[in-house]
């Protein structure tokens, strides 16, 4: 059997295992698995509106996951991604608040706001990088800490300086005037501008990691910094640029959440896309080519399961169960495949 075919078989097996596990959970919860899967499909792909909603969820997840692949390439676990999305949202909101009553054209304000979001995410990420490179704080701990700070910062802004007239509430800041919303396709919440941004972002990361010197050097730094140094690569600069770029993408995700989806800052502005992006990254074994299809699939699961509480009296967190089960079974099958290959003496080569 060829390498590629065994790979495909194990992938199929992984999907099967995840489906069986989730079905079991459904049966225990007293629901029909077939019906549940059917409603997920219907709720996500059953109508144009539903599919537009899938795209709305897809864009930030696509951006966040693309960014994560850059840090993963450099051997970094950018757990701070959630906080970076949040900071993107905060910076975007900040610029919109500053300029919303100015005479500038809405298009220009939106561009500035989105750019500010990217910068905000990048700054938060570079902070984790500085802590790691110069402070010796592992990026996982630094990032996690900064995640909490970012959430606290959002809450303080929503209930403090940026609170709604009268009294602050969990529903977020005062919505921006409609002229400062990213234009959407008529009859839906989908913004083609946001979609374009997401697709370009994913394409850039794919190109960066698979075709450029930058990507290859980043990988070298990630896999063996000492050898990379001896090969003439400035390792610190590469680590910091990985943080910077990853944060930039996360910040864009936050900016899209504010300008295209919620039109204000809300406490849960990141929608957990950072965590989901980490899961997707592991699921696809950090291969850039798989980011777009798999994040789309995860968005389908997310949007599709929104219907479940209404029609099947199931909690919508079922999509989370399915996503988690998928990631775990893929990792499991990757391990199983490796053992199988060792046993059957297949040479591991990379194409």
């Amino acid at each position: 059997m060829t390498d590629r075919r065994t790979g495909f078989l194990f992938m199929l097996l992984a999907v099967l295992v995840a489906l069986i596990f989730t079905s079991l959970v459904l049966v225990i919860a007293g629901a029909s698995p077939v019906a549940a899967y059917w409603y997920i499909l219907k709720g996500s792909l059953g109508s144009w509106t539903n599919f537009a909603n899938v795209m709305v969820a897809w864009v930030p997840l696509l951006l966040a996951t693309s960014g994560l692949l850059i840090t993963f390439a450099a051997g970094l676990w950018n757990i701070g991604i959630e906080g970076q999305i949040v900071l993107g949202g905060i910076f975007t909101t900040w610029v919109l608040r500053l300029l919303q009553h100015s005479a500038m054209s809405p298009a220009l304000i939106l561009i500035l706001a989105i750019a500010a979001g990217a910068i905000g995410g990048a700054l938060w990420s570079v902070l984790a990088g500085v802590l790691k490179v110069y402070g010796g704080v592992n990026e996982i701990f630094g990032g996690l800490g900064l995640d909490f700070v970012a959430v606290a910062l959002t809450l303080w802004l929503i209930f403090g300086p940026w609170k709604r007239p009268g009294i602050g509430s969990m529903s977020g800041t005062e919505p921006f005037p409609e002229k400062l919303w990213l234009p959407t396709v008529a009859g839906s919440r989908l913004s083609l501008w946001a979609l374009l941004l997401g697709l370009i972002g994913a394409a850039v990361v794919y190109f960066l990691l698979s075709g450029t010197y930058f990507g290859l050097k980043l990988k070298a730094v990630g896999k063996n910094p000492r050898a990379a140094h001896l090969l003439g690569i400035p390792t610190t600069a590469y680590l910091m640029s990985a943080f910077l770029l990853s944060g930039l993408f996360a910040g864009l995700a936050g900016a899209v959440q504010v300008t295209a989806v919620y039109h204000r800052l809300i406490p849960a502005i990141s929608s957990g896309y950072g965590w989901l992006g980490l899961m997707v990254s592991m699921l696809i074994n950090f291969q850039p080519a798989w980011v777009a299809p798999v994040t789309l699939f995860f968005a389908i699961l997310n949007i599709g399961s929104i219907q479940l509480p209404i029609v099947l009296k199931l909690d919508s967190s079922l999509s989370g169960v399915l996503q988690g089960a998928l990631v775990l079974s893929f990792l499991l099958m990757a391990g199983a495949r490796q053992r199988w290959q060792e046993k059957h003496g297949q040479e591991v080569s990379r194409e």
Binding site: Y213, F214, K219, A220, K223, A227, I233, E347, S349
Partner: protein, 496 residues
């Protein structure tokens, strides 16, 4: 304990690493297993120690067949192995590491272990402090610890896989003495090596492996030429000493001092000329590596100056030295030299000059194929480097050196390589000296290598550095005595 291996086969993908090997190994003597890199010695021994499972064949212990599922299984049958790289626990204390693998009970028999360690040490002349940290021991002491541990677990058969790699001459003497005592005590000692002289001075009999097959067995005294022909299938020799004509001064070291917590070397003055080869001799850890690293900008000197091609580079980083045509080749190939998981081709791309932003894979592929052919690497462009054998990794490292270098700094250029590969490595290096007028500055624990390939030699003795000695006319004995401290100002001699 008598060991019989019968018709052992082992495949790794397309490679037939062990091809119908049948050997009988008696107890109470030292049995040598000789062969070049990749001959299948380690594989065979890993099968005997339960680390690998053979595809076919049988292992017999004292006449009865056994099946070994794991190294723990093997030690129950009395078979223990010392691996090429020490498999111990540097952060542990000696006594704790000694007890690792002890099979019985919930609580550790600390007092009994201590007593056992002491009695074993006394018997075999080991010097092990039970409370020292394993990480602070020399490689030789770590081997002693491993031997003691295996003996305590009841090993009757002890396998040594290339145990002299990276230990000093003194440590080697001690190790060989211990091996002889083990054999006298009736143990079965198997000694895996690619070095003829070690077989000659140590082994009672030897089996030679080539390309996975046993190609001959013989007893002492040996006909060395016959052994070489068996190992390589042809006669191999180092050839005549050669020297390239010297040119301008490439490297100037002025009153240099380098230090770390353990050691300080000071007052080094040296000029290295184009085409010249300088060898650094000394016991491991006498300061050779410090000096090499300082000359590459990898370690910042505390005093003195380093000039390359008439330019003062003191205090500059490695990348600045690189731009002036200095290259550093470390001994730890997979830790420092290569990037595991990246392919051979990706290494070629990284090592070459960057052209633009986007990688031209087609050109890179051709270039890689070219290097594979020139440097005789057994591997394909898209193979991850860690899947290459040690010798091929060394060839890959050399293949990554850019043309037209001014100075190459090398740690142990041929460590772990068989004779044929080592000769080949030096041929390519010497060609650079002749044709590109590159200077080479290298350290090695192999005195023959230093004497044969250097023009001049610096001897290191616990942080002191000798004046340069011409290699021509110096004998191994003289060099050995210098390394032991004879002739140094504070010249106390080190007892072997």
């Amino acid at each position: 304990m008598k060991i019989e291996l019968r018709h052992i086969h082992k495949h790794f993908g397309p490679v037939h690493a062990n091809d119908d090997i049948t050997l009988t190994i008696p107890s109470g003597s030292i049995f040598g297993l000789l062969g070049e890199n990749g001959a299948g010695k380690s594989t065979l021994m890993k099968i005997l120690s339960g680390y690998f499972h053979p595809d076919a064949g049988e292992i017999r212990v004292n006449g009865s067949p056994v099946v070994l599922h794991s190294p723990a299984d093997a030690i129950r049958f009395g078979i223990g192995m010392l691996h090429q790289d020490p498999m111990d626990f540097p952060p542990m204390r000696v006594i704790d590491n000694f007890m690792v693998g002890y099979p019985e009970g919930l609580t550790l028999p600390r007092a009994a272990a201590r007593a056992a360690l002491e009695s074993i040490s006394a018997r075999f002349g080991f010097t092990l402090d039970p409370d020292a940290f394993v990480g602070s021991l020399t490689v030789g002491e770590r081997q002693q610890l491993e031997i003691a541990r295996l003996l305590w677990l009841g090993a009757q058969v002890l396998i040594f896989d290339e145990p002299t790699t990276g230990i000093s001459a003194q440590q080697k003497e001690k190790l060989f003495a211990a091996l002889r005592r083990l054999a006298e005590a009736g143990k079965t000692v198997i000694f895996v090596t690619h070095k003829l002289e070690e077989v000659q001075i140590l082994c009672d009999q030897v089996a030679v492996l080539r390309a996975g097959k046993v190609v001959g067995q013989t007893r002492a005294p040996y006909d060395l030429d016959a052994l070489v022909r068996m190992m390589f299938g042809k006669a191999v020799s180092k050839g005549q000493r050669t020297s390239a004509p010297l040119g301008d001064v490439v490297l100037q070291i002025k009153r240099l001092a380098v230090e770390d917590i353990r050691l300080r070397i000071a007052g080094v003055n040296l000029e290295v000329r184009e085409g010249e080869v300088i060898g650094l001799a000394g016991m491991e850890g006498s300061g050779q590596r410090h000096l090499l690293r300082a000359c590459a900008g990898l370690v910042r000197p505390v005093e003195g100056e380093i000039w390359v091609d008439g330019e003062n580079l003191t205090g500059k980083g490695y990348h600045e030295f690189m731009r002036r045509g200095v290259a550093y080749v470390p001994a730890a190939r997979l830790e420092e030299g290569l990037v595991p998981t990246l392919t051979l081709m990706e290494h070629v791309i990284l090592a070459d000059e960057q052209r633009g932003l986007v990688i031209d894979r087609q050109t890179a592929l051709e270039k890689t194929r070219d290097r594979i052919a020139t440097f005789n690497i057994r591997g394909r462009p898209n193979l991850p480097v860690e899947s290459l054998s040690g010798g091929n990794q060394q060839r890959a490292l050399l293949a990554l050196l850019r043309p037209g270098l001014r100075l190459i700094l090398m740690e142990h250029p041929t460590r772990g390589l068989d004779m044929e590969s080592a000769i080949w490595v030096w041929e390519t290096l010497k060609r650079r000296c002749r044709e590109e007028r590159t200077a080479i500055f290298f350290m090695s624990s192999d005195l023959e290598e230093i004497l044969h390939y250097s023009d001049r030699i610096l001897v290191f003795f616990s942080g002191q550095v000798s004046e340069p000695i011409p290699a021509e006319g110096t004998t191994t004995e003289q060099l050995g005595q210098l390394i032991g401290g004879r002739g140094f100002p504070s010249g106390k001699e080190v007892q072997p």
